[in-house]
């Protein structure tokens, strides 16, 4: 995935945070640099065709990045992850206490900035999204080390943890314009749910070196005790003994062999892709409804970006 431009990365101003606090701005500089900023770009790609003012776009983009990065600060500490985006995680470099406080501070800024925008429904929805995100984090932590978790259970966690942010990226721009038709938001909600799932599942596939152009560590999730969605899918129909053996794999080859060989692995992947292709069809159906029922002529340019998202997020194909 492309890195975003430096001016996009600097999504905050140092004036947003008190300069006299030691290490705070340094911590944020580290955190926000090298990030893909995908969610803030998504907000802008949706907001621009809707004719949303650039200050509002900046506010929305900043909101989603603040929330996402706050979750990363907390997540790394909870998971005891040493690295974030190839650099030492904030809690290792700046102490766990500062990492927690910096995350809290970002969430507090979100509420300060959004409330001054004056759209109470947007504030409410954003707070709800943060709650969902935290519920997802909490649930995920409660299943770490559980190698017999099912894909349905993981989907539920991912919907809260990952899907909630995608849903916000789609819904918040409309909400900022005061467009609150329930059917519009239900359509966007379903689309965001699907995008969140596709993104998470594709991200989980990287662990098994599938479409892994980013060079993500192989079997990283499994080795840290977390059976991800593709792992859980592979375990379907296996006995407990087989699963125990599978999750102890130290290399991808060993994993494939424990599963029954390369051919079985490929078949599993094919089935997994088929299931997700069905989800993509459902996304396209909702997209068509968005086009015909909810978008004005001038707004329809948003469709090109939205259409490209499933390719980008699941198949990891960059738009032409």
């Amino acid at each position: 995935m492309q890195r975003i431009k430096p001016d996009d990365v600097k999504i905050y101003s140092s004036q947003d945070f008190p300069n006299y606090l030691p290490k705070l701005n340094l911590l944020y500089d580290d955190l926000f640099s090298l990030g893909k900023g995908f969610r803030s770009r998504m907000v802008r790609e949706v907001a621009t065709p809707l004719g949303i003012k650039s200050e509002t776009q900046q506010l929305l983009a900043q909101t989603i990045e603040f929330i996402h990065n706050a979750s990363l600060l907390h997540d790394d500490l909870v998971d005891r992850s040493q690295l974030r985006r190839g650099k030492p995680a904030a809690w290792t470099k700046y102490t766990p206490e500062y990492a927690v406080l910096a995350g809290d501070y970002l969430l507090a800024r979100v509420m300060v900035n959004l409330s001054s925008f004056g759209n109470i429904k947007l504030v409410h929805y954003t707070a709800q999204m943060i709650s969902d995100l935290l519920e997802g984090e909490w649930l995920q932590d409660s299943v770490v080390g559980d190698h017999f978790v099912t894909i349905e259970q993981l989907d539920r966690i991912h919907n809260l943890k990952t899907g909630s942010l995608f849903k916000w990226c789609l819904r918040a721009p409309f909400m900022s314009l005061g467009r609150e038709e329930s059917t519009l938001h239900q359509t966007l909600e379903e689309m965001g749910t699907i995008l969140g799932q596709l993104f998470q599942r594709s991200d989980d596939l990287l662990d098994y070196d599938i479409r892994n152009d980013e060079g993500k560590a192989i079997l990283g999730d499994l080795k840290s005790g977390y059976l991800n969605s593709f792992g859980a899918f592979c375990c379907q129909g296996l006995s407990r003994e087989q699963i125990e053996k599978l999750v102890k794999s130290q290399s991808l080859m060993e994993f494939k062999n424990s599963l029954g060989g390369e051919k079985v692995f490929d078949e599993k992947l094919k089935s997994f892709d088929q299931i997700n292709s069905k989800m993509i069809s459902l996304y396209q159906h909702h997209l068509e409804r968005l086009e015909t029922k909810h978008l004005g002529e001038s707004e329809k340019s948003v469709l090109k970006f939205l259409k490209s998202l499933t390719d980008l997020l699941y198949w990891r194909r960059k738009p032409a």
């Binding site: 017999f148 259970q153 989907d155 966690i157 459902l282």
Partner: protein
């Protein structure tokens, strides 16, 4: 993928799609969702040609649709009450037994069907969780057919109860309470046990004390305190199974904003609640056997159940998440505990009720 269509709940077509009457050649299968679909104004259906739907032979479809495995909840108390009444010795008329049996089974079938029908209309069966009504979601039957079957069975049940009321007028009290509870919980538009706080207690009350007392009166004409006591324990044991199922689906049902007892209590308190509930069932089971049976029977049944209870409680302590595999293990332990309760009761009753006649024959033979 087959054609998809999204329909507003307020539109005239919605009823046709959700009931399955929109076409003779296609089935409209609602898409599952992780969202809180009950709040949604629109429902997305997948239109599947009927020839593409692979369904088993009709008896299997029928048995799965009426959830035959759940019939243990009514078949066991009927069986036990037969034994309790010394089989046919104290029974006044075989026709009355047959009418009671058909009436109870029909009412239970209707209850199951009506519950699934409501879940389908409300969207509860589209929230991905265990225990969904598969024949409806797989397109084996339409919601309209399920509703028609439900009314058919409730009709059969009503017909069976009429002659019984003439013979045993006191039965009308039990039937009136049952009808009142059912009308309040299931036989009104868009209502289900799940939509009513503590609605599952209605179910426990119906298959427990009401069924036991009603069946006792309808076959013997006499109220019996032991039957009522048995019914109370049985109803509590059935509720234990239901609470375990609700516990397994807690995350999904909470997100769908279903207000049942467990979701109100929350995860940690629910664990304590279920453990306490089962210990109460065990205590009542012990008291029942101590009061009505020989001390040795009490020893044999109660202590064996207590040992397996210990195993179950240990498994409950291992459950640390409303998602995850420990919940599935807990279900297995809970099911085993329930099965053991039923098996012990069957063995104990066979022994207690049949042994005297058996030994009597032996003695007479000697």
């Amino acid at each position: 993928m087959n054609q998809l269509i999204t329909v507003s709940r307020r539109s005239a077509e919605f009823k046709k799609y959700i009931l399955g009457t929109f076409s003779d050649t296609h089935r409209a299968l609602p898409m599952e969702s992780l969202s809180s679909v009950q709040d949604h104004d629109e429902v997305t259906f997948q239109l599947v040609p009927t020839e593409q739907i692979q369904k088993p032979i009709w008896p299997v479809v029928f048995l799965k649709t009426i959830r035959i495995r759940q019939f243990i909840f009514v078949l066991f108390p009927i069986f036990y009450l037969f034994l309790l009444n010394g089989f046919l010795e104290s029974v006044q008329d075989a026709t009355l037994i047959l009418l009671s049996l058909v009436g109870v089974l029909s009412l239970f079938a209707s209850l199951q069907l009506r519950n699934d029908f409501h879940d389908h209309l409300n969207g509860l069966d589209r929230i991905r969780h265990k225990g969904v009504s598969s024949p409806l979601l797989q397109g084996w039957v339409t919601a309209k057919e399920v509703s028609q079957w439900a009314w058919f069975f409730v009709g059969i049940s009503a017909l069976c109860s009429l002659p019984l009321i003439f013979v045993f007028p006191q039965l009308i009290i039990i039937l009136a309470i049952s009808t009142g509870l059912l009308s309040w919980s299931l036989y009104r538009p868009l209502s289900s046990f799940k939509n009513i706080f503590a609605g599952e207690i209605v179910f426990g009350f119906l298959v427990g004390p009401l069924l036991a007392t009603g069946f006792q009166v309808s076959v013997t004409g006499v109220f019996n305190l032991q039957s009522l006591f048995f019914g109370l324990i049985w109803g509590a044991a059935v509720l234990f199974r239901m609470y375990l199922q609700n516990f397994e689906n807690m995350a999904a049902l909470s997100q769908a904003k279903i207000k049942n007892i467990l979701n109100t209590l929350g995860f940690d308190r629910s664990k304590k609640f279920i453990m306490t509930w089962w210990l109460s069932v065990l205590a009542l089971f012990g008291i029942y056997h101590l009061v009505y049976f020989h001390f040795l029977v009490w020893m044999g049944t109660f202590f064996l159940l207590a040992v397996f209870t210990w195993k179950f409680l240990n498994q409950m302590k291992k459950v640390q998440s409303p998602l995850g595999s420990a919940l599935a293990d807990l279900q297995i332990e809970g099911q085993q505990l329930f099965d053991l309760l039923v098996s012990l009761w069957v063995l104990q009753s066979l022994f207690s009720f049949l042994a005297p006649s058996f030994f009597g024959v032996l003695v007479r033979g000697i």
